[in-house]
């Protein structure tokens, strides 16, 4: 199925861009007229995915973060957050709630938040190549 609209963003993995990324995705989604909660779900999930790239994919350098949003009929939204960073050796382990390699001040709940605020989450990663997080979210179509 072809998307009815598409957004692609690329920016360096600077933490100042976390706010920009979630706000840009939310603005793009506004054309679907989402409910306040749906919008907040997406903002939070995107924030987590982009933060992961900044904290984990490029721990000691700045690299590219690519955010792609595709809108389909019936309110289906696919959001991809991609990096070309270090990759995750054990994706299953990384997705366990509370597991973190980010130190004391990181909660280890990034993937848990993405999982609970979207309808589907897929993580693919190759060590040395990078990680792609794909999130699917259905925005309820409101009858006029």
């Amino acid at each position: 199925m072809k998307p009815i609209n598409e957004l692609r963003l690329e920016f360096p993995s600077r933490s100042a861009n976390e706010g920009f990324a979630r706000t840009a995705v939310a603005s793009f989604l506004a054309q679907l007229d989402p409910a306040v909660d749906e919008m907040a779900d997406v903002r939070t999930a995107v924030s987590e995915a982009v933060t992961n790239c900044i904290v984990h994919a490029y721990p000691d350098r700045i690299g590219p973060v690519i955010v792609q949003v595709r809108l389909y009929r019936n309110g289906r939204v696919i959001i991809r957050v991609k990096d070309r960073g270090c990759g995750i050796p054990d994706v299953e382990k990384a997705m366990e709630p509370l597991f973190t390699t980010g130190g004391e001040e990181r909660s280890g709940l990034g993937f848990s938040v993405m999982e609970s605020f979207t309808d589907r989450l897929k993580v693919t990663s190759r060590v040395g190549k990078g990680t792609t997080v794909t999130m699917e979210k259905y925005i309820a179509v409101r009858q006029p």
């Binding site: 933490s15 706010g19 907040a40 924030s47 900044i54 904290v55 909660s107």
Partner: protein, 112 residues
């Protein structure tokens, strides 16, 4: 960011504002810890009324301050959270920590 603080006998309240993400968390943590250290208060209250957005970085920040206050033999309280922020706290299991003061109309499960 910290917009306001109030000190009382043995306690300090820090009013936070703005979006709490990973980018905001570090300077905010340093500000809060600086205030807590200067005041030497046994009770630290963080007010989230002015925080419209928070992701899991907020959970990390609260957990860190909770551990710090426990280590000092003190107490942490969290107030002013929207239902949205509370739902993120629940994901982290933080609802179980004794950091939410009882609000009017709310009762403990053990209350009759």
């Amino acid at each position: 960011m910290v917009t306001r603080m109030e000190t009382g006998p043995g306690q300090v309240t820090v009013y936070l504002s703005g979006e709490l993400d990973h980018h905001a968390a570090r300077p905010l943590r340093e500000q809060i810890d600086g205030i807590a250290e200067r005041c030497g208060a046994k009770k630290l209250r963080l007010d989230f009324e002015g925080v419209p957005f928070m992701d899991s970085s907020g959970i990390g920040l609260i957990m860190g301050r909770y551990r710090m206050m426990c280590a000092l033999g003190g107490e942490l309280q969290v107030t002013g959270m929207s239902e949205r922020l509370r739902s993120i706290m629940r994901l982290g299991g933080l609802e179980r920590l004794p950091i939410f003061p009882q609000q009017k109309g709310e009762h403990n499960e053990t209350d009759q």
